[in-house]
Amino acid sequence: MGIIIDEMEGKLRPPSIGMKPYEAKVIPLITGEDMLVREVTYDEIPLLMETIEPLMKQPKDFYDIVASRIYAELLGMYRYRVRDEYCFVGAIDGEIAGIVNGRLVNEKLGMSYHTITLRRGVRVGAQLFAAKMEYHFDFMDQDEVLIVAESPNGFKRWMIEYELEPRFECQHELGGVPTYVLTRELWEKHKANKNVGIRPAFEDVVEANKVLHKPAEIKV
């Protein structure tokens, strides 16, 4: 069944340069649990928005700003207002543990948006961030990804640990926060230590995360 889009809506929707699928992978967690990292389906977007909505009022560790921005970015994706945006979820037994997103600026340049961790203390954020960089470089064959940090945790984890290069003259979509860039060279240098995952993903883990649900309680 096809959906008919009227002419005006068609003009409002951004064109796409075409995005390749991200192959799901299993990330072993220290607790013995397995986290599946996979693309979010269009129909799951409202659930993700509902999940992070309470965090939009949580000032601790800048959860409020990150949650609010992801909410808007997901809405933009859901209503077809962002060009070439992707969103991955980290899930454990179907429970949403973290969300990352970003978009492609053009074929060679990517733009990282946000990383939010709902299950803290088991390196979910670090793993998800690495997964999105993997998508830009190893799936979409891009040369560079523009990155900003909106929290001290993010700055330490991305700018310092990945040794990102400053590109302050370039304005990231997220505003005036200084822009840094992960180059292919830096990615190749750090990926062995930062990017892990088992492929093909175990069938039982894929199955366990087919249907996503909100965490009963989000402790941040």
């Binding site: 310092i160 640990e161 990945y162 040794e163």
Partner: protein, 123 residues
């Protein structure tokens, strides 16, 4: 500049060598309080080392290498290791002096005040 020279402090009473500077001689059988400054430099042997990724406030690099060395005169010192590849306990190193910290945190302000210290290099 005098700051850029590191020293061993020789007790003028018993001759024991010290690093860093002490107020009283560390020889249990001596009570010397005066020391002669002798440049501490040259060859040393690496006793142990580490690479630290979680640096304190003020360091904007992903990691730093630290080591404890023993100089030929038996004096030991802690310092930074100025290279990344092939660090091994027991290896011979050369002590150089360089800037080990750019900023100092004082009450209510952080001042830019480069501090000099040992940076060990490959012999």
């Amino acid at each position: 500049m005098e700051m850029e020279q590191m020293y061993t402090y020789k007790c003028t009473k018993c001759g024991k060598l010290h690093h860093p500077r002490y107020i009283v001689c560390q020889n249990p059988d001596c009570d010397g309080r005066e020391f002669e400054k002798i440049p501490l430099e040259g060859k040393c042997r690496l006793l142990t080392w580490t690479r630290v990724y979680n640096l304190p406030e003020g360091y904007m690099c992903p990691w730093l290498n630290f080591g404890i060395v023993e100089f030929e005169n038996g004096v030991r010192a802690t310092g930074q290791i100025g290279f990344d590849e092939g660090i091994e306990s027991g290896m011979e190193l050369i002590a150089t002096v360089g800037i080990v910290k750019e900023k100092t945190i004082l009450y209510k302000e952080t001042v830019v005040a480069p501090q000099h210290g040992f940076i060990f290099q490959k012999a």
